[in-house]
């Protein structure tokens, strides 16, 4: 993965910069020792590493502002970092950058149940938000698989989704406001515990901007009353095409499940071997979950079984209890671990129109054969967000590059059928150079105009999202 050449000038100024940072932050909040900065050399895309010049771990918005003022004046690039769980390399450092970690900004600032919002510092983990309100019967809806570890800051940067977004939307639909520090150190408030913007929707623009427009230090989030209950049904089919048709029929029937998860045979086999969840041996498996009171759930699952019955399922297993629900979810929730046990893998994140599901699955199978690599598919079928897992051997020279080649081809296929490169993980460095397959030069130019307006010197996370060649002039002008 190509990264811009670090600036010798910036690196030469390290000592002076670190001294300035130490003057505005507590002693333990500045890390510049090489051994210690290594802890920040990568994120969840661990194939790529680069220790940063320094790491800062501020505790307040004011400290974040002080850091950014210093870096702005010294023309030092800043890479914001939530919990470092990005699968796209969104927090990958460069050798001339300061990593700004928000992990210590982890307080809950205000919980307002009657008005259904919570205000938190952005380093708080996603799950901690829900945990703080669940005893009162509320929850925070976006639930990325990494929710135990990932930070709200990263969720906002990547506009993270999760399994339940078919009903509740993704981060941008549940984010009411942010406190954000611009690269100049100026603090702005966007939105608040109310709906919609007074003028232009800058909040909507910031969400999903991958830490390139500002550093979010506080967030106001919408919280929702927990449903009375939820239960899934497991459906097995002898072809992916039939499973896809069943999904479309469920949606057309006016049922809105909270989750429709799809697994193909390689994934089913791996999960079964890993967990013994008792999944049937079949070509495609759906887990469809609905919410409500018990009688409502029975009614909806009954309708879903009726619809599925018309597609000759090889198995229909309706959960009648929380234990049975857990058994049905066990394999799916262990899918990534199960695949990990089989070897190294790359997890893709393209989205396709759900009507293209059978075709895309068939093509992925063919392409995997051509490359001689294994691919397992597990994804959110209701919204077309696919997660093909490409298996490779990190110890085999050239295998990673081969897997990345197949990944790129699969993502191009997603774009070709009317979809996109990434549904919930973000572009980062991983899909940066594929952006031109989805966007025309003018489309990218319009997006870069936004960065110009927020960060004219292109110092915030500069080598991400846009193809390096497209952003070169802007990044160069800043240096």
């Amino acid at each position: 993965m190509e990264m811009p050449k670090p600036s010798d000038l910036v690196i030469a100024g390290k000592e002076e910069l670190v001294a300035q940072l130490r003057a505005v932050l507590p002693g333990d909040a500045v890390i510049d020792d090489l051994a210690e900065t290594r802890a920040y050399e990568c994120d969840g895309l661990a194939a790529y590493t680069c220790p940063p010049m320094a790491v800062v771990l501020p505790r307040t918005t004011d400290e974040v502002a002080a850091v950014l003022r210093i870096c702005h004046a010294a023309n030092v690039p800043v890479v914001p970092r939530g919990a470092g769980t990005s699968l796209a390399g969104g927090a990958l450092p460069t050798a001339d950058c300061v990593v700004l970690g928000v992990a210590r900004l982890n307080d809950i600032l205000e919980t307002d149940l009657p008005n259904r919002f919570i205000r938190v510092q952005a380093g708080l983990t996603n799950l901690a938000v829900t945990q703080s309100v669940e005893d009162d019967g509320f929850f925070y809806a976006p639930d990325p698989s990494s929710q135990l570890a990932c930070a709200i800051a990263g969720n906002i940067a990547m506009n993270s989704g999760g399994a339940h977004c078919l009903k509740y939307g993704v981060t941008t639909n549940n984010l009411l406001g942010v406190t954000m520090v611009l690269m100049t150190g100026e603090v702005v408030e966007l939105g608040g515990p109310f709906c919609d913007a007074p003028g232009l929707d800058l909040l909507g623009l910031v969400c999903g901007s991958e830490g390139q427009l500002g550093v979010v230090t506080e967030a106001t989030l919408r919280i929702l009353p927990k449903p009375e209950g939820a239960r899934p049904v497991l459906l097995g089919f002898d072809s992916a095409e039939v499973a896809g048709a069943c999904v479309a029929d469920i949606i057309k029937a006016g049922i809105l499940p909270v989750a429709i998860e799809f697994m193909d045979r390689p994934c089913i086999i791996a999960c079964e071997a890993f967990t013994g969840a008792g999944y049937p041996d079949c070509a495609a498996l759906l887990i469809v979950e609905v919410e409500g009171a018990d009688a409502e759930i029975d009614h909806q699952l009954g309708l879903i079984k009726q619809i599925a019955g018309r597609h000759n399922p090889v198995e229909m297993r309706e959960s009648k209890s929380s234990a049975e629900s857990a058994a049905i979810w066990l394999g799916r929730k262990s899918a990534f671990g199960a695949m990990g046990q089989m070897g190294d893998y790359i997890c893709l994140d393209g989205t396709i129109p759900v009507s293209e599901l059978p075709y895309v699955l068939k093509r992925i199978g063919e392409m995997a054969q051509e490359y001689g690599l294994g691919v397992a598919n597990v994804f959110h079928a209701g919204d077309g967000n696919m997660h093909p897992l490409i298996l490779y051997d990190a110890n085999k020279p050239g295998d990673l590059a081969l897997a990345e080649g197949l990944g790129a081809d699969i993502l191009k296929l997603c774009v070709e059928v009317g979809g996109c490169l990434t549904g919930e993980h973000g572009v980062g460095i991983e899909k940066r150079d594929l952006m031109s397959t989805q966007f025309a030069p003018d489309d990218l130019e319009a997006q870069m105009l936004v960065k110009d307006a927020f960060d004219p010197k292109w110092l915030l996370n500069p080598a991400k999202v846009f193809p390096l060649a497209s952003s070169a002039a802007r990044r160069g002008a800043a240096a």
Binding site: D112, P114, R116, M158, N159, T172, V188, E189, G192, F194, C195, D196, A197, P198, G199, L200, D201, L202, G204, L205, G208, S209, K226, E228, V247, A248, I251, K252, G254, I255, L256, G292, A293, A295, E296, H299, T351, P353, S355, H380, D383, G384, N385, G418, G419, C420, L421, T422, G423, V427, Q438, A440, D443, E445, A446, L449, V450, D452, A453, F454
Partner: protein, 380 residues
């Protein structure tokens, strides 16, 4: 309107028209939402960029030209028992305007109704846009899939930008199925503060309330508080009983399941029909539900309609009243929606932003419309 309207036949022609423009343009969809500072400029109509380009009921997605009449889209969706999730407001009754609302105008206004509170605004269901910026550049952002984080979200930026950053040419939405049954729980005679407490109680339950409104003067003249529930018939009946029990301290909420009456009641709320044909200016507040009654009390002589459980307030005030000095320090924002052209020229329709935020907005406008020709000043 001195100059003849431009009515390009397609996106390429529209891009040429913008690039060739030598003065301000007034962007026109159906011309039903005359909100903001009046714009003097050559009309540029999107009427001919019309038609549904793609509708896949099984994928809950629709793509259409920005000039497509909303009525045409709603008819197509109704045939498949689907709908736009955000219940777009029709401004015609309130503003006394005529013409056909278009998809592009609806997006430019981020027009959303009572369901916005739970199903999100227009901007939340909008998944793709094509537009022509002020330099005549054609830009595509988002797409036709409902989960998409590829690049910056200009889709959100375009929603509610009132044609000041670009001229929409095509829009894409995610959709929802229509419910089998819709019902309303209704209680007359509550005062504002009590009504908002009742709505807050209802919205804190797991019974999936999709509408929560309080009208100081309902259609019969008395105050009325309304709660909407939707879904399968048995489930609606069950949730109605649960809500009635949960709200017992506020008196009896009567259940109404008559489809025509229920529909009419929510159209009345959505389109603010109560203030149609009544003299006075109309403001829109977006705030914290619990703050709403107190804010209303600060505006003497105002009449209020609360929606979104109190998070949205429509205020009817005497002509020419600037309510912002009365609401200093409010959490949220106030927008002037209906007033004479003179008043809209004198009072800022859109809430002034804090200086740092205004600088960012100005920076975006300067880049997307460097010549300042797209609805110039409308949001100022």
């Amino acid at each position: 309107m001195d100059q003849p309207a431009l009515a390009p036949a397609n996106e390429a022609e529209l891009a040429q028209a913008v690039a060739a423009a030598t003065g301000p343009l007034r962007i026109v969809g159906g011309d039903t939402r005359g909100v903001g500072r009046p714009v003097a400029g050559q009309p540029l109509s999107t009427a001919r960029l019309s038609g549904i380009r793609l509708y896949e009921p099984g994928a809950l997605t629709l793509v259409a030209g920005a000039g497509t009449p909303l009525a045409e889209v709603e008819a197509a969706l109704a045939a498949e028992s689907q709908r736009l999730p955000f219940e777009p407001m029709d401004h015609r009754a309130l503003l006394g305007s005529h013409g056909q609302p278009t998809l592009g105008g609806m997006v430019a206004a981020n027009a959303s109704g009572p369901a916005r509170m739970v199903r999100g605004a227009c901007r939340d269901s909008l998944i793709g846009v094509r537009f022509v910026d002020g330099s005549g550049r054609v830009v595509s952002n988002g797409g036709r899939v409902m989960k998409n984080v590829t690049g910056y979200d200009l889709v959100k930026l375009m929603a509610g930008s009132w044609g000041t950053l670009g001229v929409l040419t095509e829009v894409a939405f995610k959709l929802l199925p229509c419910p089998e049954t819709v019902a309303v729980l209704r209680r007359e005679g509550l005062d504002d503060a009590t009504a908002i407490r009742a709505l807050t109680e209802a919205l804190g339950t797991p019974f999936e309330v999709t509408g929560a409104a309080h009208l100081q003067r309902g259609e019969g003249g008395a105050p009325v508080t309304m709660i909407r529930i939707e879904g399968f018939a048995d489930s609606v009946a069950y949730r109605a009983r649960q809500l009635q029990a949960a709200l017992a301290e506020f008196g009896t909420f009567d259940l109404d399941t008559d489809p025509a009456r229920v529909e009419a009641a929510w159209v009345h709320v959505c389109d603010v029909r109560g203030f149609a044909d009544v003299p006075g200016d109309v403001w829109h507040l977006s705030t914290v539900p619990g703050d709403a009654p107190g804010l209303v009390a600060r505006v003497p002589g105002a009449q209020a309609q609360y929606d979104w459980g109190g998070g949205r307030v429509w205020l009817l005030v005497p002509d020419g009243t600037d309510i912002r000095p009365l609401l200093v320090g409010m959490c949220g924002h106030a927008t002037l929606i209906r007033a004479s052209a003179d008043t809209r020229a004198a009072i800022r329709s859109f809430q002034p932003e804090a200086p740092g935020v205004a600088a960012l907005s100005d920076g975006l406008r300067a880049r997307f419309d460097p010549r300042g020709i797209l609805n110039p000043g409308l949001m100022a």
